[in-house]
Amino acid sequence: MCGIACYLTKINGDRAPVGNKVLHMLNALSLRGPDSAGVALYGPRSKHLLLQVKLVDTLGEAESNNLQELADHITNVVGKTADIAEVSRTAEYLRLKVSFGGDPKTLERHIESADKEVEVLSMGYSLEITKQVGSPVNLDSTYHLDDFCGSHGIGHTRLSTESSIDLSHSQPFWSHGNPDLAIAHNGHITNYRNLRCKYEQNGFHFYTQNDSEIIGVYIGEKLSMGMTLAEAMHASLRDFDGSFSYLAATEDSVGFAKDPFGFKPLLMTETDGFVAIATEELAIRAAFKGNYNVHEAPAGEVQAWQL
């Protein structure tokens, strides 16, 4: 019973209060699952590649000094192939801004070779993913996302039903190897094992045991074949079995897909100024005052917005 939320501005370019709105919606959804919470926020496009690197799965006090050493080591590794414009560390995250002209997958591999728990959680020119174990109410107090401005964002609050509760299994998921592509999912992809097997045979590496990870891999593959986000999501309705409502976002588009049986709720509103989507209407009402209509997205529906 996870909760997902999405906000996109239609009038404020990349200066909308994306952090504030997505956090508000997530807080309202927190009762749907307090196991982990996260946001994928899209700010103004940077000429640098932004990386959020997870240093460890769980942060213990004793590890704090070692983490700085690990962070320095990763920074050195990255510095050998890219120009580093900015480095900072908050809790278990290392955040890097780099100029890098090569294949993002190579950069990711270099970073992740530093330690077995090290993982690049997001990479992109406008995307930044921040997530943590626990309820969404703690997210802002740790990472101060409330004043994040941008064009759109998606969020997730999780009730774990199958796989582990740790940072790697928290959502939104970045689609590894695909800068700026992120997804958030509520439901179960029941043919996940078969799909995963197929992708693994083709050389894809999976980071978690979470069925939702397949969505990012799938959409990433379809986008790389030249499909638009909407086309990729439409295709997923044919290829995914199970119950799902999911959100997917790229640097300049965002959309939702709902399974053909309509097993999972998804409420949405679209006004002249914004689009808001959430698992429960109360999340939309909590974040946006005023008069507007909210309706349930139909079963088997895909809708995507191009910025």
Binding site: G262, L267, E281, V294, H295, E296, A299, G300
Partner: protein
């Protein structure tokens, strides 16, 4: 008029207060600032006029017996689920499973209803001014389901004796559902019902009562017959 402000109250507080008002004989109750809270006005078992000013969350007006509840907004999943009697009117749209398993009473959704509208209804009237989603009327046992607009796929699947009327297009009939032309009596029933509950629909340009189709069970699934094996296989 009695008013309950949901601001800063839990659902339990709101429902307790509402129940106190109803059992205290208050007949006209307004609930304000609902902000899409779940489970509002459930299990109210006495007659009363309850107006909710704003959208409601899941399972609003479930298991009621007698009250008239008006929602000035939209409703989430499971609106009026398992109601016994009374009237529920939403002037916006409703989420999945509206009017599921109702035994009697009237549910009016002025805009659209999502998937699984009126599934397993055992009586009563469900009336939708707009369109409805997938699988409406599934396993309906009795009662009447009227949708003025279009209906989604799997419509009226595996029904018993619910009678459905559709003013728009049917995306796809469910298993064992058949279309019939309504009788003159049924057209006149539709006119009376729409005039009573959705008069603006009747006055809308282009509205024509003779566009309505009647959908009922073909009764092939009522008793097992080897010759109907294909129908059964499809239904399963």
């Amino acid at each position: 008029m009695a008013t309950i402000d949901c601001f800063d109250k839990t659902v339990r507080d709101v429902n307790t207060k509402l129940r106190d008002f109803v059992s205290g004989g208050k007949n006209d109750i307004h609930i304000i600032n609902p902000e899409s809270l779940h489970n509002l006005a459930v299990a109210i078992t006495k007659a009363a006029n309850i107006t909710i000013d704003g959208s409601v969350g899941y399972y609003c007006a479930g298991m009621i017996d007698g009250p008239t509840i008006r929602i000035n907004g939209s409703a989430g999943w499971g609106l009026a689920e398992s109601m016994l009697s009374g009237t529920v009117r939403v002037n916006g749209s409703a989420g999945n499973g509206a009017a599921a398993a109702i035994r009697d009473g009237t549910v009016i959704i002025e805009a659209d209803a999502a998937a699984r509208l009126g599934v397993s209804m055992k009586g009563g009237l469900v009336l939708v001014g707009g369109n409805c989603g997938y699988m409406a009327g599934f396993m309906g046992q009795k009662g009447t389901l009227i949708v003025c607009g279009d209906v989604g796929a799997g419509f009226a699947d595996s029904m018993y004796e619910t009678v459905c009327f559709v003013g728009g297009e049917i995306a796809e009939l469910g298993t064992d559902a058949i279309i019939e032309k309504p009788t003159e009596d049924e057209y006149s029933y539709l006119s009376r019902t729409l005039t009573l509950h959705l008069p603006t629909k009747m006055e809308a340009p282009g509205f024509a009562i003779d566009r309505f189709k009647k959908v009922i069970s073909g009764r092939k699934l009522w008793n097992f017959d080897n010759q109907d094996w294909e129908t059964w296989r499809e239904a399963m």
